[in-house]
Symmetry: C2
Subunit: 154 residues, 2 copies
DNA sequence: ATTTATGCAAATCGTTTGCAAACCT
DNA sequence: AGGTTTGCAAACGATTTGCATAAAT
């Protein structure tokens, strides 16, 4: 399990792994769900429901809303909060890629992925230990959001 | 300007400073706006619009939605994205307190404030320089969100 | 074959907007 | 007084839900 855990799995594994995760939750890997996973995998950044529907026009909106819930419960997708009111979704780090953070545009709401450095992660983990005690929370993860204006909005 | 910048201003200044910021944007510090600022100042965490309306039942919802926009434009309030779809609002750091981060509950969406350490901030600032170049963003700030389950949801 | 997911259309709910009355300076 | 803000009610738009059909194992 050494090196495999930290790196992105080969693309061919993606759907097979998604199917397994769904099966483990008593759910099927249907066409609509596969389509959604494919869209999210192809996106270079977390996608809104609207973006998913545009990328995959045959999907019904209601089905997509229902499936995002199912995929989240199965640990395939996570929700990312951006600057605006729209939820954004991406494949979980465990499923599709390494740990990363986000850069959010205050003007248009666009969210891009950004890699974190080892030193930053180390500092984060140090601080997290302290903060979880202070807040009485059981901390399960962290999310760093850089805020600014994207290239098109500058 | 050394020490004053980093610490929270005395409470008595709050409304006076809010009034100045609004005036600088050609806006008035009305009763409804003062009420909203007071609610946010009293809250130990970023508040949803619903929470503001509960805390200040005389406020009309429409007015509150309009005022949150005005207060944001004046630099009095910022929007915080939590785990759920509801926007949360708090007084800006410059107005009401020192730089801090948030701890979000994955179960109930509650967001608490958490102080950051100097070493973490240093690491953040280092990384930010790199990331802003890579992403082509003009970075104006950062936000660290720790994710977990709050004391009541554990 | 049987259970589960889908799609359409209607219902829901948070948020926004039009407009007349109340407010502030 | 004069322009702005407020509050109500209606409009809006994203998300959710009911139910009959289609798909999956």
């Amino acid at each position: 399990m050494g090196t495999t855990t930290a790196s992105a799995p080969p693309d061919g594994d993606l759907h097979a792994r998604a199917a397994m995760l769904l099966a483990a939750h008593g759910q099927k890997y249907t066409t609509a769900r596969r389509a959604m996973v494919a869209v999210l995998a192809a996106m270079p950044h977390p996608a809104t429901i609207a973006e998913v529907l545009i990328a995959s026009p045959d999907l019904a909106a209601s089905t997509t809303y229902r499936n995002v819930t199912v995929l989240r419960e199965a640990g395939i997708v996570t929700r990312v909060s951006g600057a605006d009111e729209f939820g954004r979704f991406e494949l979980t780090e465990e499923l599709a890629g390494p740990h990363h953070h986000h850069v959010t545009c205050t003007n248009c709401g666009l969210v891009l992925d950004a890699q974190s450095s080892a030193s930053l992660e180390a500092a984060l983990n140090d601080s997290i230990r302290d903060l979880m005690k202070a807040a009485g929370y059981e901390i399960t993860g962290h999310r760093l959001e850089l805020v600014g204006r994207c290239a098109s909005c500058r």
